[in-house]
Amino acid sequence: MSEFFTVSVLVATLAGGIRLATPFLLAALGETLGQRSGVLNLGVEGVMLIGAFAAYYTALETGSTVAGIAVAIGIGAVMGLIYAFLTVVMHAEQGISGIGIFLFGLGFTDLLFQKQVGTPLPIPGVGKAPIPILSDIPHLGEIFFDHNPLVYLAFLLVPIMWFVVNKTTFGLNVRAIGQTPEAADTLGVSVNLTRTFTIVIANCFAGLAGAALALEVGIFQQNLTAGQGFIAIALVYFGAWRMPWVMSGALLFGVVSSTVLQWKTLGIVSGPSSSLLAMAPAILTILVLVLVSRRVSAPAALTRPFDRAG
């Protein structure tokens, strides 16, 4: 165990945790906004997959990761419009619709990958962009300021999203329609339009999350996300629908995963105990969810469609 508590290993562990947390943090931020407005989207995983493939394929064909990111966000917006039509306009049951979106994303990206790419082809991906001066700070620089630009963007979006939700009129409307849409409606807030906005934004985040994943590993493969979209949904509950806490949950999940990897790499754990330890992030999440659920309530109108007539 002593080899783990060296500066270099601890620094690598924390930096790895931040890297691992980035895709599901991005998706969770968007999902938090959507749920604050009363819309649950279980299709985050599917949209992440579509975003991942879109970014990968665009980068493969054009050589531009920026174009890949843009296309992933655009595809996310399109998926958001589809989901908004189903859930806001048609009042589809949100859980079932989300699962449909997930299955669609899983199958559709596999189909496209088989037909358009075939054998996995590596792409350069998005490289590191050390922040001048800050990245030179001993240890802290490597942990926080020596990542790719999407990592910085993800963590920069936390205070921005917090500000949007808590300090703007739009955020006030979002919170209001997530609690009592009828009351918000009587005050002149367009519930369905606002929810459409939040769904589109949330899906853009999911598309960006997929892009972050594909461009970090520099490749696409069937079911690339491997459950990260569902982790993002769990993090929303973990973080009690508050952006800073969602970020804390993502970091905790990422750092625990990174720690387990380091322990295995260093041979601190092996065999059956190693297999058990691999479940640590999930078990930790469940424990925190149990604790959180006793103290915090979900938005009152979550999963409830709004119909002025009824």
């Binding site: 270099s8 290993v9 690598a12 790895g16 890297r19 691992l20 189903l86 048609m90 009042h91 589809a92 049951e93 079932i96 619709s97 449909g100 979106i101 299955l103 669609f104 899983l106 199958g107 559709f108 990206t109 596999d110 189909l111 496209l112 990958f113 088989q114 037909k115 075939g118 054998t119 996995p120 082809l121 590596p122 991906g125 994943l213 970090e216 590993v217 520099g218 490749i219 493969q221 069937q222 079911n223 690339l224 491997a226 990260q228 995963s257 990174s258 990897l261 380091q262 295995k264 790499t265 260093l266 041979g267 092996s270 065999g271 190693s274 297999s275 691999a278 119909d307 007539a309 009824g310």
Partner: protein, 355 residues
């Protein structure tokens, strides 16, 4: 309101149908027949000899494969798809594949479906498929099933088992890795500590330490066959801890090969030729040539024996082949020594020490 509800129901049903269609199309390359084998191993399906639609197949041997990952994963599933395509070059076959069946229940449905369709040989290409196969095979006594990697036929007369001595090629590549490593640290990214992955990893570690006892081989099983991001992070952890040679097994290693390329670290592949994943860093790949095993199974079927035997791919019988990447520029002396080690394992004069 009621009219809107009906409309919604219709739309939801359409979405669900579309999703299921996409999922089915995505994971099953069996119906399109578009991807033909062009020799680079990218074929997902290759109906040979017959139109394949009416289930007739004429004299063609009808072979179906059910496998967990994509047909072109450059790993486990592709090794079997390539093998059946190789068989198709020597005799008339009709080939169908259902890939991407990580969910065992989906695989079970596919296995039963192929048996009901009257395929001559149904290959359950995944050790996790043993349970359902044990239930399905007795219902179709005239259909031959093959299950791998495994060494158990359940005592059923219509089940063949096949496996691979992955430790043999692993041992050979371990000896090369030990000679390439300057730091004396080698990293291994494994999926789950079972089956041919464990054999390969154990053989690789044994070969490396046999070549140079001072070498440290760090093994990291990430407990997933599909988590590419975790595999990449595991490789990053290895490099961070001083590894200058990496290897790994299973389809999620495409994440780790990216790290190897980015870090300029040598990579050894297994299951399929992984040179395409890192033309500058892949030293060699241990390639599974299941066609050696399939040829024995098919010979048995031709003679009326539908199962009951276990076949093993080895260096000796050509079921395992070390394929080098000429673009890496491996030192000739190292390669010659490795070939000698492979020959020694094949003739029994060298043991990997792995049981």
């Amino acid at each position: 309101m009621r009219k809107q509800s009906r409309t919604f129901t219709l739309l939801l049903a359409l979405l669900a149908a579309f999703a299921l269609l996409a999922a089915a199309c995505g994971s099953d390359g069996g119906d399109d027949g578009a991807a033909s084998d062009d020799g680079d191993g990218t074929s997902a399906t290759e109906p040979a000899g017959d139109d394949g639609d009416d289930g007739g197949g004429g004299d063609a041997l009808r072979i179906a494969v059910v496998a967990p990952s994509a047909s072109n994963d450059l790993a486990f599933t592709q090794s079997m798809v390539d093998a059946v395509n190789a068989i198709g070059e020597t005799r008339d076959i009709q080939f169908d594949v259902t890939d991407g069946t990580f969910v065992v229940e989906d695989a079970a449905a596919a296995l039963r479906g192929y048996a009901e369709d009257g395929f001559d040989l149904v290959v359950a290409h995944g050790s996790q498929y043993g349970g359902p196969l044990q239930e399905i095979a007795p219902d179709f006594p005239d259909v031959s099933f093959a299950w791998g990697t495994a060494a158990d036929t359940f005592g059923l007369p219509n089940v063949y088992a096949y496996t691979v001595r992955a430790d043999e090629g692993g041992f050979v590549m371990g000896t090369i890795a030990a000679q390439l490593s300057e730091s004396g640290v080698i990293g291994v990214v494994g999926p789950v500590e079972v089956g041919d992955a464990k054999l390969y990893v154990d053989g690789f570690a044994a070969g490396a330490t046999n070549q140079d006892p001072a070498v440290t081989v760090n093994v990291n099983y990430i407990e997933s066959f599909s988590d590419v991001a975790l595999a990449a992070e595991a490789a990053t952890a290895h490099v961070g801890n001083g590894a200058d040679v990496l290897t790994g097994s299973a389809q999620m290693v495409v994440g780790a090969t990216g790290v190897a390329t980015e870090s300029g670290v040598a990579w050894f592949g297994t299951q399929a030729n992984q040179t395409a994943l890192g033309p500058d860093v892949v030293v060699a790949s241990q390639v599974y040539h299941w066609e050696v095993v399939l040829a024995d199974i098919i010979a048995g079927i031709d003679s009326g024996t539908l199962g009951g035997e276990v076949f093993i791919a080895t260096l000796a019988n050509g079921g395992l082949v070390i394929e080098y990447n000429d673009g890496f520029g491996l030192d000739d002396a190292v390669r010659t020594a490795a070939d000698a080690t492979a020959a020694g394992i094949a003739d029994g004069s060298i043991s990997t020490g792995i049981e």
